[in-house]
Every structure is written in C-alpha cells, then in structure tokens.
C-alpha cells in the first residue's frame, strides 16, 4: 500500500472515464477496475470517487442507471455518453501530448556549455 502513487489533480476524472469506457460499471466496480488497470499503483480514496462520478454525470459525460451487480446486489451502473466518449478521446490525446512532452523534457541531457 505504501508505494502507491498520489493522484495528480484532475487525473481522477480521466481515470474514471477510462475505466467506464471499457464497459458499464458501478461505483465500486470503477474502483476495482482502476486498481486492476493501474496494477494498484494509484490510490483512490473511496469517498472521493462519488463526487467525481456525480460531477461527470452533471457534465453529461456519464449516464447512470440502476441495475443488479454480479453478486445480486442492487447498484447504480455508469456508462459513457456520446459526449463522454468524445471528451475521453480528446483528454487522452491531451494527456499523451503532455506526457510525451514531460518525458522528453525530463530525459533531456545537459548540452555542453
């Protein structure tokens, strides 16, 4: 647990979008899925997830509906809307550009003066 990385601000939303883009999930499922795809490298506080989910619903990126979980519990399932899908693609591209730039910047060697 101790070597889990802290989440950068603003990245939680993107992670949630990614998790949901792979298929409809309930809130707890989103947590599990994020743990799975990050190999448990990122720590997400359980309580912090829900405000993020509600925020994305309000922005129209996610839609929610009640259903039944794999072990027969009533749960609310989230999936991407069309806008959500579009936003997810844009944010992914943006993140990749940033990451590439950051990686390049950090990899740069000092030139001889």
């Amino acid at each position: 647990m101790t070597d889990q990385a802290q989440l950068l601000p603003g990245t939680l939303d993107l992670l949630v979008l990614k998790a949901v883009s792979l298929g409809p999930l309930h809130g707890y499922g989103v947590l599990l899925r994020i743990g799975q795809i990050t190999n448990s490298a990122l720590l997400i506080e359980q309580g912090a997830l829900y405000p993020a989910l509600f925020r994305l619903v309000r922005q129209g990126l996610l839609k929610a509906s009640w259903g039944v979980s794999e072990n027969n519990r009533r749960a609310k399932f989230y999936e991407l809307t069309a806008t959500g899908r579009k936003r997810f693609r844009e944010e992914t591209e943006g993140w990749n550009r940033l990451a590439t730039a950051m990686t390049a910047a950090l990899a740069a060697q000092a030139e001889e003066a």
């Binding site: 359980q46 309580g47 912090a48 829900y50 405000p51 509600f54 519990r73 749960a75």
Partner: protein, 873 residues
C-alpha cells in the same frame, strides 16, 4: 412543495453509498473477515460520511438550495425536539416584533404619509393654533393673492350643520372650503362633480354640497340618484353635486368630514358677518397649497410671515399675529406632540426588542450549551464548522421568521381594529392607521436582524468546542464563578424591563394626577347639550328669548339643581377655546402690541357657574338683569385678577377695555381652571354675559344628581316641546372630557402595555436562567442535601446568583428610568419619576417579578431527592 421531505436525489445518493458499502463488504467477507467485521471495515474505508455527502452535493450542482433544504429540515427536527425552547423563543420574538410593528405602523400611517392626496410632499399649510392671523377669511384672501410661494392657496374651516333630507333632521360635520379646495388638492370626484373657484360669485352664490364617500355610503346607501337632489342645510336649500373618492377623507388626519361646502355660503349655515370679520379666529381653520417648484419651505414660511406682517401693519386692531410656521398638511398643531409621543414610544418599543434579543441570546446560549455534545459528535464525524454554524443560523432564522410572522399578524389585526375604531362615537374623529407594504418589510427586517443578533451569540461557544474534550467529559460542565455572557445579557434585560416598568408607573401616576386635578369646574353630575339655533333657522335677535325659555325649561325638570349656558364651547370640550386681547382703560390704540392680557373669553348665562360647579371667590355672578341695555360687566378668574389688578379684592369694581372698545366693570372673581386642555399652564379667563353678545351656537349646562340617561331623555323632550326641528344630543361633561383626556389615556395605556411586555420578558428571562441553573446543578444539590444542607443554603446556592443579577439589573434600570424623565415628559403629562411612590413601586414590582420567576425553579431545587438523583447517574 416537498422542501420538508427528503429529495429523491438525496435518497438516491444515500442508497448508492449504501450499495457501495455492501459491495465492498461482500469482497472483504470473501477475503476472510466475518460479516460484521467486513461491514465495519467497509464503512471505515469510505471515510467521514458527512464530508463526502457535502462534496457529493456540491458535485451534483444546485447545492445551495438543496443544502438549504437539508438545513431547514434538520433545524425543524431539532426545534421539534425542544418544544419548550422553541415556544419561548417564538413568543418572545413575536411580542417584540408585534410591539415594534404596531408603533411603526402608527408612525408610518400618521407621519410618513399623512394625507392620501397626490404629491402630498409639496403640500404645505399653516398650523392651527396660537395667534396666527390666518384664521379669518379676509386675511386668507390677502395671503392667497399676495404670496409668491404657492401655486394656489385653499382654505377650509369646520362646520356643524343640521341636515334635512325630508326624514328626521340630524347633525353632520363638514368642511366649509374655498372654491379651489379640490383643485388645489388635485383630486377628482368619485361621482358627479366638485365645485371650483369659478363657482364663487360673492356671498351665498354657491349652494352646493359634496358628500364624503363614507357618508354617502352610510346615509344614502350609495344611491347614485342623490346627485342633483336638493337638501336642507340648516333649513337652507343646497344641491348635492358630487361624492368625493373613498380614499379622500378631508385634510385633517384625525377628522373625517361628512360633507364639503363652499365657504362663501358658510354664513347661511353659521353666523352672519363671519366672512367679513378680519379679526375672526374661527372662519378658517387652515390655509394650504402646493409650494411652487424651486421654492423651499423655509422661503415659503418667510413669505407667509411677510404677508402677515404687512397685514398687521395695515390692520393693527384686528390682526393679532404670532409667527406662522408651515407644516405638511394633515397633522396641524398635533404634529410636534405626536412626533414626540411616537418617537418616545418607538424608543420604548426598541427597548422591548433589545430586551427580547437579550432574552433570546441567553436562551440560545443555553440551548447551544445543551447541544455541545451533539455538535461535538458532528464535528468528529467530519462535518465542517462552517456547516454547523450555518445550521445554527438556520435555526435562528427559522425562529425569527416564525416569531416575526406571529408578531406581524398580531400587529396587523391590532392596527386594522385601530383604524376602524371611533374613539368618540358620533363625532368625526378617527385614527386613520392601516398596515401597508412598508410595515411588512420593516417587521421582516427587524425579525431577521434580531434573529442574526441572537443567533451569533453561541457562535464563539461552537467555534471553541473541541470534539474530543466534550465527548469525553460529557455535558456536566461546571458553572464557573466568572461573569458569563448570559449573566450580562440577563442584567441588560432586567435593566430594560425596569426602565419600562418605571415608565408605565410614571404614566399611571401622571394620569391619576391629571384626573384629580382642579379644572375649575366640577364635571360630575353635569349634562351638556350642544344647541345650534341656526340649524332651526333662528335669526340672532330671537336668540336671547329662546335661550331664556330653554334654561327655564331645563330648570323645570324635576331633580335639576342648576342650569345655564355658555356660547360656543364650554371649557375642556373638544379642545376648543377663544382668546381675545384686553387693554387697560387708558389705552386708546387697541393694537395687538398694546394689549394688557390675552385671556380666554367665554359668554355665559346666569346660572352657568352654579351649573358648572365653578366657585365664586368675590363679588357677584350675572343675573337676568345683565341684559343688552344694562352696563357692560364681566367676571374674571383669579389669574386674570392677579395679573391685571394685583389681587382678587382689587379686581372687583375695577374697569378694563375689551377689543371692541367697550369699558367693562369687573363684578366678580371666580376660581382658576383649565380651559383648552388639562396640560396647559394656568391662563387668565374672562366671562361676559351671554345676553350682551348673543350667539346661536351654545351649550346648555345642566347639573343634577339624576341618572344621566333619564335626564338626557327629559332634556330632549323639553327641548322638543320648544322647537321640534332642533337636533340635540345631551352628553355628560365627563364623556366630553374624554376628548381632552384622550392623549394621556392613550399614553398611559400604551406605556402600560409596554411595561407589561417588559415585565413578561424579564419573567421569562429570569425564569429561564434560574431553571437552567437548577437543572444543571441538580446532582450537586442532591449531594449537598445528602450532606445535610439547609433549605436556605440550597436556595442560596442555586438562586443566589440570579437574585444578585436581578438586583443589579433593577438598580441600573431604575437609574436609567430616572435619567429618562425628559423622554417620558414627551409622552405623559407631569412625568416625574422622582416620586417616592413610583420609586418604591418599581422596586416592589421588580421584587415581585423576581419572586414569580424564581418560584418554580426554587420549588424544584427544594424538592430534590438525593437518593433518586444519585441513583440516576
């Protein structure tokens, strides 16, 4: 509205969080924990619920309204759980807001919008009273034509006339107005038309009557065909030409006339020569008009006084002039007194509000202290302090809204009743108050402001609260010996209450004193009947004979001891009084500045003094020989005798000169009295024989020990036998005195109510404090009793502090009350709190209040059963 039910969104959110916990618990259970452990672990992982909930609300948007709804729901639940606290707080606030709303409503109606006419802000008029020249018609005409400040000037006076519509004749009250009256006021008729300046073509040229809406409604049942009908006004034919709009009730705030008639026709209805007499002081009541744009009221006043000065120069004999000041039309000479009275009342009402706030502040502080455990728990569960403060303020605002609404409702009921109240049945006197939008706004603001004021009292307490301490230590915090905020609040409250009690006792004493003052008359067992022979069409030369037969008829009624009459109005009736300059015999230039005195002037018949109960100090009174051709004689009061001749004995047999130049001989001196109102200083007065200056409007004065109703019936029968067309309505002198006593009665009543409210507030305040301190210390008391404490020791332990605070507060309040004499003097006549009776009364009242308020807590403290209490813990 589902504000008070859980919103579906909240419900859904709760459900979702629950489902999360279950899913997580299922997983944990699979990993080996037992069911209970798994659930607990799942909940802990989710973290501070309160905080997440709040963040979720924010994330869902529109959070303000929803969390407001949440706050309100929660506040309602809390308030329902402590009904005693809620009830006390709401009632306290309702009392305070009610008192303030009533006073403000009266002030708003009477001072802030005195007349219901367009652009009343620029409508200014002369104030009635004093030696102001504008009470005669010729002076009004000159002022109208020679001033440079007014767009136009109208004048009006009051008339009482007999109205004959074919059915039984009745007296009605009206205004005789200049032709331009309605045009100056810029109002339109409700029905028919008004008369105008163009209708005036000299004396008796405009026999028209405009009815007030109220009179048209009550007497003619809104019959539209009355327009054009000819009616008899004092037997003269007048045509009804219109009805005034319902919103217009004349130009005097306290009088609503039944009708309006052109002043050029007034002589037909009242006395001959009224309009031509420049020295008259009862042809015109007030002169008024809209000030021209760009002219200030001060300039207009100077202008009016300049015209007055030139009139005084041109007519030195007739025009006696004081300095005129202008006022917004409507309140006239009542204005300054009324303003002082209402300001004083507003101050007291403000004190009530302050006391109520102090009361509520300590209630809230106690309430918050009781809830410190709950607050601590919520803090520990992750709720933010801001959120908790918001919660507390929501409770305060809810209480202030409930209290404000209740107070407002009560005040609206009271004001509406006041507005329809007729303090003197059968007269046109009214108190035109009505609640309006401004009142609602002010009451609401007051309620909210005081809500926030007392709502923030416990804030410090909450902010300082350390959740772990409170939860660990429990609620039995020890009461320290330090002065706490609540102590200060209680002292303030008691001090304010003592001021109010002082004020009301001072007022009661003042009223008692003025009721038992010496008026120079004995109003008991005396009947007055207003007679106007003009109403029955008598010419002036027939008046003395008729008067003599009337007095004879009155004396022939069995049980009547004395009967007489007085021209115009008797002393202390309708605050009417006529004054006239008198001169030394050697003065030949009878101008105003040469006058020796300015006494009240009464014209009386033989028998008047005996009937009025005025005692003769020296000389003689009049008899029937003091008629038209007898030498002119006069009776003066002691004050007049002293001022003019040095002493009572010197006065009898001395001479002086009247304004008309006649030399009169003083034949008698009577005791001093009050003439216009009971609050005035002693003034000189002179009494002339009515037969030497006959008038057709007078009051019969009849003294008898018979039952007033029987006597009134007998008088009516006798007068009816003399002339069947004469409307008369005998009343007791005391009944008519109620008009002059009205202001002090009202003052006493309102101060009494304020005092009672203050007393109630302090009782609840002391009670709250005492009860709280007893309940907090029950366990300690139990131990003390178990260890053998005496009853007095128990009482001292638990109530000593409260009693000490009560004493301190009362002393401060009494001191303030004494210092506030000047304010009180505005409100009541002869306000002297430096009166041993008042001082001891206040001390006694406060002690009694303290006793009443601590009685129940003391009983509770004494009935402590140590065994029970100790077992409970």
């Amino acid at each position: 509205m589902n504000i008070f039910h859980r919103s579906p969104r909240t419900e859904e959110m709760e459900e979702e969080l629950l489902s999360h916990v279950q899913l997580r618990a299922d997983d944990l259970e699979r990993s080996g924990l037992n069911h209970a452990q798994a659930e607990r672990q799942a909940r802990i992982e989710l973290g501070g619920r309160e905080r997440w909930k709040e963040e979720c609300y924010q994330a869902m948007g529109s959070s303000f309204f929803e969390s407001l709804v949440q706050d309100i729901r929660f506040a309602l639940r809390v308030l329902r759980k402590s009904p005693g606290f809620t009830f006390a707080a709401v009632v306290t606030l309702a009392l305070a807001i009610g008192a303030n709303a009533v006073v403000f409503g009266i002030m708003d109606s009477l001072l802030l919008r005195p007349l219901n006419v367009p652009q009343w802000e620029s409508l200014w008029g002369t104030m009635y009273g004093g030696n102001i020249a504008w009470q005669s018609y010729p002076n009004y005409i000159d002022l109208r034509d020679h001033n440079h400040s007014f767009e136009d000037l109208a004048a009006f006076g009051m008339v009482f006339a007999g109205l004959d519509t074919g059915k039984d004749p009745s007296v009605f009250n009206g205004f005789a107005t200049s032709g331009n009256y309605f045009d100056v006021l810029r109002i339109q008729p409700y029905l028919g038309k008004f008369f105008h300046a163009s209708d005036e073509h000299g004396r008796n040229s405009a026999p028209y009557v405009v009815l007030s809406y109220a009179y048209w409604h009550s007497r003619f049942h809104e019959d539209r065909s009355v327009i054009g009908r000819v009616v008899g006004v004092n037997k003269h034919p007048f045509t009804i030409i219109g009805v005034a709009p319902p919103s217009f009730q004349g130009t005097l705030v306290f009088v609503s006339p039944d009708f309006y008639m052109p002043i050029v026709n007034e002589e037909q209805v009242t006395t001959e020569g009224l309009l031509s007499a420049r020295g008259s002081d009862h042809a015109v009541f007030e002169v008024m008009g809209h000030i021209k744009p760009g002219v200030t009221p001060a300039q207009a006043t100077a202008d009016v006084n300049a015209v007055g000065a030139s009139l005084e120069k041109n007519y030195p004999k007739e025009v006696a002039r004081g300095n005129t000041s202008l006022a917004h039309e409507g309140l006239t000479s009542f204005g300054p007194d009324l303003k002082g009275f209402l300001a004083g009342l507003m101050l007291l009402a403000g004190l009530i509000l302050l006391a109520a706030c102090a009361n509520l502040g300590s209630l809230f502080a106690a309430h918050a202290a009781d809830r410190s455990r709950e607050v601590a728990l919520r803090l520990a569960l992750g709720s933010s302090r801001r959120r908790i403060l918001r919660q507390l303020l929501t409770e305060a605002v809810l209480i202030s809204l409930a209290g404000g609404a209740a107070g407002l409702w009560a005040s609206v009921v009271l004001l509406s009743r006041l507005g329809t109240w007729q303090p003197f049945p059968g007269t046109a006197v009214r108190i035109p108050v009505s609640p309006d939008a401004r009142l609602y706004v002010v009451a609401l603001l007051l309620a909210l402001v005081s809500g926030f004021l007392f709502g923030i009292v416990p804030v410090r307490q909450v902010l300082r609260a350390n959740p772990y301490e409170v939860v660990k230590a429990g609620s039995s915090r020890r009461l320290g010996s330090r002065m706490t905020l609540r102590d200060v609040l209680l002292v303030i409250q008691i001090a304010i209450c003592a001021v109010l009690v002082t004020a009301s006792l001072v007022a009661v004493r003042g009223l008692v004193r003025s009721l038992h003052g010496n008026y120079g008359i004995d109003p008991r067992n005396t009947m007055l009947a207003s007679v106007n022979l003009a109403m029955a069409g008598y010419s002036i030369d027939k008046v003395p004979g008729m008067q003599k037969s009337m007095i004879d008829a009155m004396e022939s009624i069995p049980g009547v001891e004395h009967a007489g009459l007085v021209n115009g109005y008797p002393p202390l009736v309708y605050t009417a009084g006529t004054r006239e300059n008198v001169f030394k015999t050697e003065t030949s230039d009878l101008r105003n500045s040469n006058a020796a005195a300015n006494p009240y002037r009464y014209e009386i018949s033989p028998g008047y003094f005996a009937a009025a109960g005025t005692s003769l100090l020296a000389g003689r009174t009049f008899d029937w020989h003091d008629g038209k051709d007898a030498p002119p004689v006069v009776v003066v009061n002691r004050d007049f005798a002293g001022k003019m001749f040095g002493s009572v004995n010197h006065a009898v047999g001395s001479f002086y000169k009247l304004l008309d130049g006649r030399r009169v001989e003083v034949v008698g001196v009577v005791e001093d009295g009050k003439y216009q109102n009971i609050t005035q200083d002693q003034q000189p007065a002179m009494f002339l024989p009515s037969m030497q200056s006959p008038a057709n409007a007078f009051f019969l004065v009849v003294r008898s020990h018979r039952d007033p109703q029987q006597l009134a019936a007998a008088m009516r029968t006798k007068l009816h036998q003399l002339d069947s067309g004469l409307p008369v309505d005998p009343k007791t002198w005391n009944e008519l005195l109620s008009v002059v006593l009205f202001p002090s009665r009202v003052a006493t009543m309102s101060l009494g109510v304020m005092g009672m409210m203050g007393a109630m507030l302090s009782v609840t305040g002391i009670f709250g404090m005492a009860a709280y301190s007893v309940s907090k210390r029950l366990r300690e008391l139990g131990i003390r009793v178990a260890l053998g404490a005496q009853r007095t020791q128990v009482l001292q332990a638990v109530l000593g502090r409260t009693v000490k605070l009560l004493a301190v507060g009362s002393a401060i309040g009494l001191l303030l009350g004494i210092l506030a004499t000047r304010v009180l003097a505005y409100i009541v006549y002869q306000a002297t709190p430096r009166d041993p009776l008042v001082l001891s009364g206040v001390v006694l009242a406060m002690a009694l209040l303290g006793l009443v308020a601590t009685w129940i807590p003391a009983q509770r403290a004494l009935s402590v059963d140590p065994m029970m209490l100790l077992r409970e813990e």
